[in-house]
């Protein structure tokens, strides 16, 4: 089985999607000849021609509006927003159009084929505008699916599933891991299920939950606390909307403790929704308050990025506090 980094796995998935369905069309800023600023769309224009893989003018609301129309026509658009920080000019198209196309028309029309890819997250010295994790703005939007992969294998399988899912999907890619995460990825065409969390490691004392790049922080923190005798159950949520309440609740019934982490600011972050739902489901089983380890309630910094990040040491302390409550 070949070893790939996350960009190669994404490129491989896009290639496979375009090869297997001629309705699949990739576009966005710099995705054509250049293959994208991160090279996720490398060689796609060469292989499938300029009509199916092309540069757009620099206009995000145009990219997503165009993608909505193209999807309504029956094509399978995969639009790239160069950085998730730059998705906001397209907020109206995503929130008022993409998410409501099917509902408002009684399914006379839909944008089932649409996938929007956007690199998100910090840890790359990107400062305010190349680091944000905007998922929670969109988890408040019924009608969208939101998917975040943690490694190359997951990225390929989840992206292919997102492209072929009969709903519009926002696919947030953890750019800190684009080249840093490598692993075995099958050559074959495969899909991983949307809406299903994955238990990465079983344990008894505490459930630790995250998605995307935060899974590397969780992995490091869990290694630390397990050396101190704490048994952790680790869950990657993978799909944020609609999210897999059952898997998380089942885990918390067993462990009685839950620590959730995301890079986005604490207030209004998706961890709050998870915490509220789990306390409702698992109230009598909880041994300690559900803990959130998140970014500060500030914009994303630069020089003090390391201090800002919800890293393994902050997670370590939160897990220990949950155990010792």
């Amino acid at each position: 089985m070949p070893t790939m980094n996350m960009l190669q796995a994404i490129n491989n998935a896009l290639d496979m999607a375009m090869a297997s369905d001629e309705r699949v069309i990739c576009f966005g800023e710099d995705v054509g000849t250049f293959g994208g600023v991160f090279r996720a769309t490398s060689h796609l224009q060469e292989r499938y021609g300029k009509a199916r893989c092309f540069n757009t003018p620099l206009v995000e609301q145009g990219i997503v509006g165009f993608a909505n129309g193209l999807a309504a026509q029956g094509a399978v658009p995969i639009a790239e927003i160069q950085f998730a920080d730059y998705i906001f000019p397209a907020f109206d198209q995503l929130v008022n159009e993409t998410a409501k196309f099917r509902y408002r028309s009684g399914n006379l029309f839909n944008v089932a084929g649409l996938t929007i890819r956007a690199p998100y997250g910090g840890g790359i010295s990107g400062g305010l505008y190349h680091s944000q994790s905007p998922e929670a703005y969109f988890t408040h939007t019924p009608g969208l699916k939101i998917v975040v992969p943690r490694n190359p294998y997951q990225a390929k399988g989840l992206l292919l599933a997102s492209i072929r899912d009969a709903n519009p999907v926002l696919f947030f890619e953890p750019k800190r891991l684009y080249r840093a995460a490598t692993g075995e990825v099958p050559d074959a065409d495969y899909q991983l299920p949307l809406g299903n969390a994955e238990i990465l490691k079983e344990g008894n004392d505490v459930t630790v939950l995250g998605w995307g790049a935060q899974m590397t922080m969780i992995e490091a923190a869990v290694e630390m606390v397990e050396n101190e005798g704490v048994s952790c159950e680790v869950i990657d949520l993978r799909t944020l909307l609609p999210w897999d309440v059952d898997t998380v609740a089942e885990s918390v019934f067993k462990t009685g403790r839950l620590v959730i982490t995301h890079e986005a600011p604490l207030t209004g972050g998706f961890a709050g929704e998870i915490a509220a739902t789990i306390q409702e489901r698992c109230f009598l089983y909880l041994e300690s308050p559900i803990a959130r380890v998140a970014g500060l309630d500030t914009p994303f910094p630069l020089t003090l990025e390391k201090e800002y990040m919800p890293d393994q040491w902050k997670l370590h302390d939160a897990i220990k506090a949950s155990i010792e409550f």
Partner: protein, 403 residues
């Protein structure tokens, strides 16, 4: 009242494609830097011409040195103005120094012209404790209230409608000021550009929209950005005054911007200027142009270097010499290196800068988060050298200034 001005009725069906709106390019200097024959010498006095030229040379030196520093790993990121110095500095020099500048991110030359010191550049680039932006933004996101230069924001084109609003405020204040906003031909594709131009003519705002048409938006060539004759003809759709100018001809840029300022301030006519130029360097230190354009194309534009052209004009007038040039280059190179060393050694911004300026005061909830962070750093000082240094518990040797 009719929503269209004086539209005649015709009985013959005819579609128009706007080809009649092809705009000429205003230029005073030829490609060699010699005035076109038969035109009047522009009204640019010696001191001002040399001020402009020194700012152009300084910007080139700064860009060369800082890109080299980035390659050495001393700086996380850099972005050059190279090739566009005449457009940015020629325009800035045509304004009043109190006029507002709302730039995109490639306009460090405007700051250099207005007297931003080398140390001020370096403090921002290295995000140290003296950076006005408190080390929060990536390198090249300068700002200066004193020099009327709005702090740079990475999202493209957001500054363009803001310039319209700022200039409307200047009009109400009645002090005879205007705002210039710079942007690339790529950013002009954003909705914000169109909103800005429409509001500017509707409300008769003293604003100058200065498009640096440098041929590329990262890798995307202008030919894939728009199908029309550049950006300039869009002005007609908003009934805006417009001129296209050779952006590598500093005299033409200066002259056009001076007249644009007069129209904006005295007559409340907003103006669109499209400066035709070329981004000689990569988009940024994160980019490699060999993936999307040829060396041959770059070489063809290198011949049109705006600094070379202005230098020839200055030397022809006996206002400048090779000896002065060499002395200036040597001095700037030395000053930049010395300033860089000073800035690198400065401490990072204090830990409190993480939570200040989010609001006018730190809200209680955020203060609690900060207190928890401080306690955390005290438990793990070795993991947070900068935070620990700020708290006075530093015992590590992390090189300073790196981001």
């Amino acid at each position: 009242m009719s929503s269209t001005a004086k539209s005649n009725v015709v009985n013959v069906l005819e579609f128009l494609d706007g080809d009649e709106y092809r705009l000429p390019t205003f230029a005073l200097l030829d490609q060699e830097g010699v005035l076109y024959p038969g035109i009047d010498a522009p009204s640019l006095e010696r001191d001002k011409a040399l001020h402009i030229y020194r700012a152009m040379v300084f910007t080139r030196v700064l860009d060369e040195r800082m890109m080299a520093a980035q390659r050495q790993g001393r700086l996380s990121f850099y972005l050059q103005c190279t090739g566009e110095e005449a457009a940015v500095i020629g325009a800035t020099a045509a304004l009043d120094d109190s006029d507002m500048i709302m730039a995109q991110y490639r306009e460090q030359g405007a700051l250099a012209y207005r007297g931003f010191s080398i140390d001020e550049f370096m403090n921002q680039l290295f995000g140290n404790d003296l950076d006005y932006g408190r080390g929060r933004q990536m390198p090249i996101h300068y700002g200066s209230a004193e020099l009327h230069y709005m702090t740079i924001s990475s999202p493209l084109a957001t500054q363009i409608p803001q310039a319209t609003g700022y200039a409307y405020g200047q009009k109400l204040a009645g002090e005879g000021h205007c705002t210039i906003t710079f942007f690339g031909e790529g950013a002009a594709s954003e909705g914000d550009f169109h909103a800005a131009l429409n509001m500017a003519t509707v409300h008769r705002v003293p604003v100058i929209f200065f498009c640096r048409n440098n041929g590329y938006a990262i890798s995307t060539p202008a030919i894939e950005q728009y199908a029309a004759d550049g950006v300039a003809p869009r002005a007609f759709g908003y009934r805006m005054h417009v001129v296209r100018v050779d952006g590598n001809d500093v005299l033409a840029v200066h002259e056009a911007t001076r007249e644009a300022r007069r129209l904006a301030v005295e007559h409340h006519h907003p103006v669109l200027i499209e400066a035709m130029t070329y981004r000689l360097a990569a988009h940024s230190s994160s980019d490699d142009p060999s993936g999307y354009r040829s060396r041959k194309e770059e070489e063809a534009w290198r011949v049109k270097d705006p600094i070379r052209r202005m230098k020839r004009w200055l030397i022809d007038r006996s206002w400048w010499s090779e000896d002065e040039e060499n002395e200036l280059l040597e001095r700037y190179r030395r000053d930049v290196l010395e300033s860089m060393k000073r800035a690198e050694k400065r401490p990072p911004p204090p830990l409190e800068s993480l939570v200040s300026d989010v609001y006018d005061e730190v809200p209680l909830r955020l203060q609690e988060q900060f207190d928890a962070l401080e306690a955390h750093i005290r438990r793990y000082p070795e993991q947070y050298p900068r935070g620990a240094r700020s708290l006075g518990i530093d015992n590590t040797d992390e090189p300073q200034g790196r981001t």
